[in-house]
Amino acid sequence: MTAIAAKSPALRKPRSLKKPGILFPVLIVSLALLAVWYVGAYFLNAQLARDQFARQKKEPTAQELVAATWAMDRPLLPAPHQVAVELWKTTVDQSVTSKRSLVYHSWITLSSTLAGFVSGTLLGILLAIGIVHVSSLDKSLMPWIVASQTIPIVAIAPMIVVVGYNLMNGQMGLSTDLSRFIAKAMISTYLSFFPVTVGLVKGLRSPDPIHLDLMRTYSASRAQTFWKLRLPAAMPYLFTSMQVAIAISLVGAIVGELPTGASAGIGARLLAGSYYGQTVQIWAALLAASILAALLVWMVSLGGRAVVKRMGMAR
């Protein structure tokens, strides 16, 4: 979708200039962000650092103060290199199966994210199909789907845990890890189906009236109209919604790690980090989550672009 946006009329460039690499801009923007980050770290941490110097009855030079703000144990905002070091320690320095490895925890979260995303997308698609095709569902179900989304998961998560997790783990005899995985995936599903439903309902209703009329003249069945017209026309909506959905799935999986015993996964890392006040560790986990999310979103958008291209609609 970015490629299309680039062709905005007022700034269409000669062909030769069209495909500069992505690396250079990302690098520049990242450097700019890093600079902002360092400056931010200085200002946010300055007061704490001054307190520390005061405690040691020492008047710091400007240089000492800057150095101190970038090397605090419990900073308000850790400096980028502190986070980088932590990331290095918890990824490269650990075997990937170690409980101290962020890769291990990312994988735990990723697996329930993907499960939740897949089932959430499927559920979202099913609901959207129902809503678009069955008028009684549109009128009666949609308001309640909306209402369901306003129920804070954290509030019902204990129920999911007690009813779902314990049921699976206890009564149904599933293993702890599996039940935990399923409970988290359920929370992911719950959060991620909604964007898909909203987006796809709009998408399925977006074909031109004349294209729908054409189907009517063929007395096409609903299924035929769906497969041959509504779904292709909804593709841009579907993939945009799926980008949102996968991001929300990840949030759901992380949030779901709290009431399921916060034992492993990025969410558990975040929680433990904040519980023990290890700011750097929180930021490392946050960064890991962000990178994971960006990768997932990017993959979905690639998929979307590939589909649009195959449909011959990428001009």
Partner: protein, 374 residues
């Protein structure tokens, strides 16, 4: 109506028969519906009449009215019986319950089949159908919780929640003000606006598009759990830190949708703008933004519920002692689950109204879109 529409009344007939002929109470085989007094007979007759009417004249107004009466009576009578059979409900009780529900379902199908109308009738229908659905959702909940004696601390029955809701209005109002009116509204506005503006920025400056979009994606899934404590560190305990969490949560859906929406305009429409030598902003405002509106409204709708969730979750991580999230987490710990659900009911109501308002604005702003023309 098709075969499925006809199936329901027949199933209901079987249900009615079962309700009349089987015991109501699994501990007391003598207890039967026909022996429950004249009121029970009124219910039975109303149901039978409605069923006959539906099967004979599927969509007539009379059938609708009879269905409404029978379903209401059946539901009401089920609830009347409930306390006396809690924990040991017999087959006739369940039959009565399911039959009433089937009748209500028939009613919804009949109402939903009425072609879209304008004016008062249309508005009435648009409200009544989800209302029937919702009321039945509550009845089902009440019946299941009470009949199976589900522990109160897991899920309280709606009646208890309603009672709590009414007696706790001042607290609920204060929480609503703190969380919704302050944190959600502010965060939603800032989050949607910044997602939108960054999307425009990315669109305007191709360099940023390649550099900033991948980095913008990094914000896509900043977990609430992670940022909420940090926001409390940065912005304090009160609502601004919650608003900040809402900003982060609503930013990405808006970014992605706006970016896609801006690419959605037809090539010929864009060519038209080129022939006018329209500058970037003119093309943006007169063509690409209108064309992007359906996408932007999708984001606004998704964000309307997301914002509320985010604000409530954020309140789990440090707040003053007011707010919907604070109340929920505290009262769970105190085993006041009815209060928790009262708060959830407020959240659901607020979120639905919020969503509904956005949807209404969408209808007014994108009336031209095919989705509103067919």
């Amino acid at each position: 109506m098709n075969a499925r529409g006809l199936l329901q009344p027949w199933l209901a007939f079987i249900g009615l028969f079962a309700a009349v002929s089987l015991p109501l109470d699994s501990l007391d085989p003598e207890r039967m519906l026909p022996r429950e007094g004249p009121l029970a007979w009124v219910v039975i007759v109303a149901m039978a009449a409605a069923l006959v009417a539906v099967i004979r004249a599927e969509r007539s107004g009379l059938a609708g009215v009879l269905l409404a009466i029978a379903a209401a009576l059946g539901g009401w009578f089920t609830l009347q019986l409930l306390p006396s059979v809690a924990g040991h409900a017999g087959p006739a009780f369940w039959a009565l319950f399911l039959t009433s529900w089937l009748l209500a379902w028939c009613l919804v199908s009949v109402l939903a089949a009425i072609p879209r109308q304008t004016g008062f009738d249309g508005a009435f229908l648009r409200i009544v159908v989800p209302l029937i659905f919702g009321v039945w959702l509550l009845i089902i909940w009440e019946v299941i919780v009470l009949a199976f004696k589900v522990p109160f601390v897991l899920i309280p029955p709606p009646s208890a929640i309603g009672a709590k809701l009414i007696t706790s209005i001042p607290i609920l109002a204060a929480d609503f003000r703190q969380t919704f009116l302050k944190a959600v509204i502010a965060g939603y506005a800032i989050g949607c606006a910044s997602g939108f503006l960054v999307a425009i920025l990315i669109d305007r400056v191709p360099f940023l598009q390649r550099g900033l979009l991948p980095i913008g994606n990094l914000v896509s899934a900043l977990p609430i759990v992670g940022i909420a404590p940090i926001m409390v560190m940065w912005f304090g305990f009160d609502w601004p830190s919650k608003a900040a969490v809402v900003v982060v949560s609503t930013f990405f859906p808006m970014l992605v949708n706006t970016v896609t929406g801006l690419a959605a305009s037809q090539p010929m429409s864009r060519d038209l703008m080129r022939t006018y030598a329209a500058n970037y902003w003119q093309t943006l405002f007169k063509l690409r933004l209108p064309e992007a509106m359906p996408f932007i409204f999708n984001a606004l709708k998704i964000n309307s519920t997301l914002a509320l969730i985010a604000a409530i979750v954020a309140e789990f991580f440090g707040t003053p002692i007011v707010g919907m999230g604070f109340r929920i987490s505290t009262e769970v710990g105190r085993m006041n689950i009815d209060m928790v659900w009262a708060e959830i009911a407020v959240a659901a109501l607020a979120g639905s109204v919020f969503y509904g308002v956005v949807a209404l604005i969408e209808r007014a702003a994108t009336f031209w879109h095919p989705s509103f023309r067919t």
